[in-house]
C-alpha cells in the first residue's frame, strides 16, 4: 500500500516497512523513527548508514554481525533502538527486516 511519509508517497508493507529503497530519504527515516519513539542523533544515522551498506552488499543482518562490525557494540545498539533493535533500525533504514522463509 501507499502512504504519505515526510511529504512523499512511499510504498510500504502491512507493518510499515518500505518496499522500495529508492523512495527512502532521511526525512522518511526520521518520521518512521519518531513513530517508533526514537529521536535520531548523528550516532543513530551512522548505524542506519552501516545497515544500508550491509543490505546493499547482500550481507545478512544479525545481532552477531553488529558485534563484529566495529561500528558499535550490542549494548549501544540496544540503547539506541530499545526493544527489538534490528527490527526497528531496519524499518528506519528503509530495508527489509531479517526474515525466515515462512
Amino acid at each position: 500500500m501507499e502512504t504519505l511519509i515526510a511529504g512523499s508517497n512511499v510504498k510500504v508493507n502491512e507493518e510499515g516497512y518500505l518496499l522500495d529503497f529508492s523512495q527512502w530519504n532521511r526525512g522518511v527515516g526520521e518520521e518512521i523513527a519518531t513513530k517508533e519513539g526514537i529521536t535520531m542523533t548523528p550516532r543513530h544515522w551512522e548505524v542506519i548508514e552501516w545497515i544500508q551498506e550491509q543490505v546493499k552488499a547482500d550481507k545478512a543482518l544479525s545481532i552477531r554481525g553488529i558485534k563484529k562490525s566495529g561500528v558499535l557494540d550490542i549494548k549501544e545498539f540496544y540503547a539506541l533502538f530499545p526493544g527489538g533493535p534490528l527490527k526497528i533500525s531496519t524499518k528506519i533504514a528503509g530495508v527489509p527486516k531479517p526474515k525466515s522463509c515462512i
Binding site: K59, A60, R64, Y78, P85, S100, C101, I102
Partner: protein
Amino acid sequence: MKNLVILGAGTAGTMMANHLRPKLKSSDWNITIIDQYKTHYYQPGFLFLPFDIYTEEQVKKPGKKFVPKGVNYVQKRIEQIFPGENKVQLEDESLQYDLLIIATGSKIAPEEVEGMKGENWHKNVFDFYTYEGALALRNKLRDWKGGHMVVHLTEMPIKCPVAPLEFAFLADSYFHKKGMRDKVKLTYVTPLSGAFTKEKSSSALGYLLKEKNINLEIDFAIESVDNDNNKIIDYGGREVPYDLLVTIPTNMGDDVIERSGMGDDLNFVPTDHHTLQSKEYENVFVIGDATNVPASKAGSVAHFEAETLTDNILLYIEGKPLKAEFDGHANCFIETGKNKALLIDFNYKQEPVEGTFPIPGLGPLKLLKESVFNHWGKLAFRWIYWNMLLKGIPIPLVSRNMSTKGKKL
C-alpha cells in the same frame, strides 16, 4: 586431460558428481570428489531421530554408494584452497584443478555463544543438527520426566529454517503420545519478530502455536547460556529459564573456507545468485549450503541449483555465457505433528502461498495447508532422497525454476 574437483560429498557435491560424469568425456576430464567422512547422512532425518520416529540405520549410508563409477572418491581432509594457483591442498598431497566446485556445506558453531557448548552440552543443552546431537537428545527424551522445554534459534541464516518450528510441533505430539503433555511447558524462542515472518505464512499458520499450547518469545538475541542457573540470557537482559534447552546454534560454512580466505563473516562463499559462479574466481563454482545466496539452506535448493550449475559448467567449458537462471527455488515439507504436514514452494522473490502442487488445481499436495497426505510426502521423501535426488534423477513434474501455476498469488 583436465581436472574437475568437487569439495564435499554431501547432498550437493554428490549430486554434481552424478550429473557431470555422464556429460563430461572420460578421455577429457578427470572428476575427483573429496570428503574426509565415510558416512553420508540423510540430514532431514535428524528431525525425527530424537522422537524415535526414525532409527539410526534409516538416516545413514556409506557415501561411497552414491559416488558414480569413473569419479575418484578421495577420503582426505582438505587443508586449504589456493584459488589464485588453482590448487587444493589435502592432508598429504595437493591437487591442481581446471574447475572447482565448492560444496562444503554448513555446520553448527555452538562455540559462537558464550556457555552454549559448556558443561551441560548434550546433558540438558542439545542440538539436533548433528547426528550425535540428535541421538543424545533421543536418549535424554526417552526418560525425561517433564519440565520446561525451550526450543531456541540463535540467529539466521540456518540450514532448513523451518526445522526449529517443526521440532516444537513434533515435541508437542511426542509428549501427548507419551501421556505427559501436561507435565511439559513448551516455549519457542526466536531472534526474529515472530515464529512466522512472512505475511501469508503468518496469517495461514499463526494458529499453530496457540493450538499446540507453545509459548513464544520473540526478538531474543542470545548473549549467553547460564549453565549454573539453566537459563538463556539476551543482550537486552531478558532471561528465559529452561530444564531442557534444544538450541539451533549459529550456522557457519566450513573452516576450510575461512582458512582459504574465501568466505564472509560466517564463512559462506560470495556467489552469484543466478549463475552460482564464485564472485571472485571465474573457474570456481559454489553450490548448496556453502554459498551466501539468500535462498534457504536445504536439500531441495541444492537439487534445483545442481540442474542450473550442471548446464553452466558445460557452458563455461565451451566458453559460452552462463545462464543467469537460478531463482532461489525451494520446496520443503514442514511437519506440524499428529501425522500432518505442510508443503511450501517459493523462491527469492515469491513468498510461500496457498495452492496445489505439483499439478495445478489437482495437487495432490496442498501448499501452506496442513494435510495427512503432505506428511506421507515427507516420509516418502527419504526414499526419493536416497534413490533419486542424490543420483541426480529429475523429480517428475517439479521444475528447477519455481512455477506460479496452481498458486494463489
